[in-house]
């Protein structure tokens, strides 16, 4: 798991003996899988997003109809169109989840990397944090139901303490429960890369900062945060791309009432409106790529300063 930032070994390790011919046949099966199930599908999405369709079949052609219908009514400034509203809602979730997972993930990684002294305990606690990643996301979502539901544990407690008279309704199937589930599911994607970056920080730098009279906060802000930057960026890319394309978490935890781009694509696919779904996918992909590009630029700019 400490692998997320590892470059291809060929870049820095001594090349093992072998001919490039045998390297090629060894890499071929993997290449074929990604060509068949990743590159070609992406190309098809782009192609079909310009196709026409009727109730029965896809009609090859070249039309901007689908893109136009995605942005139908978006010229009207007073009343926001569905597409903009949906993106706005998704961005809101993105920002919230990103901020929370970043702070929580950073704190947890910091504790593991700098406060746990025995490496055995460190490994144990790290594994403890990552085990839920290997269990079912849907189960982890519905496990909030007995806690947050109308008659759930939280409401029972609040009623017993007479803090509220009627059950709190916004705990489940709301923006709150969606955000909570995202944080619950995906903080792991922040912890692993940030922890990995922190473990690579030379401990003598911290001593040097301490000897030079830096306070704890100064060391944190001027030494640890910049040196954990790669991990922070990688974690951010993971969390943001997952939330941007999500439809499962928003569906289950939002009680199928909250819109998201992923959900629009899913619904359009189920009605076999592939060209429309493809156009939405192309737009989503473009936005996600821009965000990733911005995030990676953040690294370079800081390096150049």
């Amino acid at each position: 798991m400490s692998s997320t930032t590892a470059p291809p070994p060929s870049a820095n390790a001594t090349p093992a003996p072998g001919r490039s011919l045998s390297a090629w046949w060894q890499a071929t099966p993997l290449t074929v899988v990604f060509a068949l199930f990743f590159l070609i599908p992406l190309a098809l999405i782009l192609m079909v997003s310009f196709w026409d369709f009727n109730e029965y079949e896809l009609l090859p052609g070249f039309t901007f109809k689908n893109y136009i219908s995605v942005f139908d009514g978006c010229g009207n400034m007073a009343d926001m169109c569905t597409t903009f509203r949906t993106y706005l809602s998704t961005f809101k979730f993105c920002l919230m989840v990103w901020l929370i997972t970043l702070v929580v993930g950073f704190a947890v990684s910091y504790f593991l990397a700098f406060h746990v002294r025995s490496s055995g305990v460190q490994t144990l606690l790290f594994v403890l944090c990552t085990i839920p990643f290997w269990t079912s996301n849907v189960i982890r979502m519905i496990s909030w139901v007995p806690l947050l539901g109308r008659n759930g544990l939280v409401n029972q407690t609040l009623m017993q303490m007479q803090l509220v008279d009627t059950p709190v309704e916004w705990l489940l199937f709301s923006d709150f429960s969606v955000t909570l589930a995202f944080v619950h599911l995906y903080t792991m994607f922040m912890i692993v890369p940030i922890f990995n970056s922190m473990m690579r920080i030379d401990r003598s730098l911290l001593e040097a900062a301490n000897d030079s009279g830096a306070s704890g906060w100064q060391t944190l802000w001027n030494v640890i945060v910049p040196l954990s930057r790669t991990g922070i960026i990688i974690g951010s890319i993971f969390v943001i791309t997952i939330v941007m394309g999500d439809f499962v978490t928003i569906g289950v935890m939002g009680g199928q009432q909250i819109a998201s781009i992923g959900k629009i694509i899913q619904v359009q696919t189920s009605y076999l409106q592939f060209p429309l779904a493809a156009a939405n996918a192309v737009i989503l992909l473009a936005i996600v790529l821009m965000i990733i590009y911005g995030l990676t630029r953040l690294v370079d700019i800081r390096k150049e300063l």
Binding site: A6, A16, L30, P41, L44, H115, N137, W144
Partner: protein
């Protein structure tokens, strides 16, 4: 660093709360799945029983849980085997001079961070266009019987397998990179100097050394496939895997049976993790034993 610094206790509390946050809800549905027959979706517990597990075995509504479970197990094993073999082969390839290696690495990472709904939509689209093509071909050759019998090329071991591999292979390859970054080529050189063929060098020298990581890749392959929803959703056709059925059931089932199902799938995940840990431990012990002998 002798004295605990001031931030130790606050952060220790944050960490403990985080672990509670991670495991608390899971523990709750584990407990609630043993509700008595009169019990509901929330506390209080009304007696302890296996009632809801029996209900689960009888099937939930129209959903055949057993069949979905078998499908998911089969697919998980297939994904696991493919992930292990392809990741190890590609890992070996990347150690050598590999033209286009950087482009391939970029594609693999792109697949990892690509929103799953897009991958899923693309694969679904690809196989539907393939269906159209096959039907046109069958029609053109006048093979009407075959055309009648042809349903779709979308399926568990075609499109769904591919969709899962786009998610598990990046993890497998990254683990292989991490392994080979710390792997000294001198072992293989020694083997070769002693007259071993490349296959013998791999089979008797490299493979035993990387075995624990290979087992780890297998675990990633199985558990990620076992729980996968987003990439499967548009790319599977008529049948459903267990997590997809589960996702559908969340809005229709209002009995603790759904918790029982959660407990069952989580137990499968934990068994796989336990077997992995045991294997890694055994392999590590075997290596130490040989080293000291």
């Amino acid at each position: 660093m002798e004295k605990r610094s001031g931030s130790f206790w606050p952060l220790a509390i944050v960490f403990s709360l985080f672990v509670l946050f991670m495991y608390g809800p899971m523990l709750v549905i584990f407990i609630l799945s043993f509700q008595g027959p009169e019990g509901g979706l929330t506390f209080p517990i009304r007696g302890l029983s296996l009632h809801w597990f029996y209900k689960l075995a009888e099937g939930l509504g129209v959903v055949d849980i057993g069949a979905a479970l078998r499908r998911s197990l089969g697919l998980g094993v297939a994904v696991m085997l493919c992930t292990v073999v392809l990741s190890v082969l590609a890992g070996l390839a990347f150690r050598k001079k590999l033209k286009g290696g950087n482009a391939l690495f970029f594609i693999v990472v792109a697949s990892l961070i690509m929103p799953s709904i897009i991958v899923s939509l693309g694969i679904g689209l690809e196989f539907r266009l393939l269906d159209t093509g096959i039907k046109a071909l069958l029609g053109a050759f006048g093979m009407d019987d075959a055309l009648e019998g042809f349903g779709t090329s979308l399926g568990l071991f075609t499109s769904a397998l591919g969709a899962h591999l786009t998610w598990t292979l990046p993890f497998g390859l990254l683990i292989m990179f991490a392994v080979f970054n710390r792997f000294s080529p001198s072992y293989e050189e020694a083997a070769r100097d002693l007259g071993a063929t490349p296959w013998q060098g791999f089979r008797h020298v490299v493979l035993p050394l990387i075995a624990p990581s290979v087992v780890g890749i297998g675990m990633f392959g199985f558990t990620l496939s076992w729980d996968e929803i987003a990439r499967t959703s548009q790319a599977i056709g008529d049948v459903n895997t267990l997590p997809l059925e589960l996702q559908g059931l969340t809005s229709t089932v209002t009995t603790p049976s759904i918790y029982a199902l959660g407990t069952v799938t989580t137990i499968v995940s934990f068994i796989v993790m336990g077997v992995t840990l045991a294997l890694v431990w055994l392999l590590g012990r075997g290596r130490k034993g040989r080293a000291s002998a």
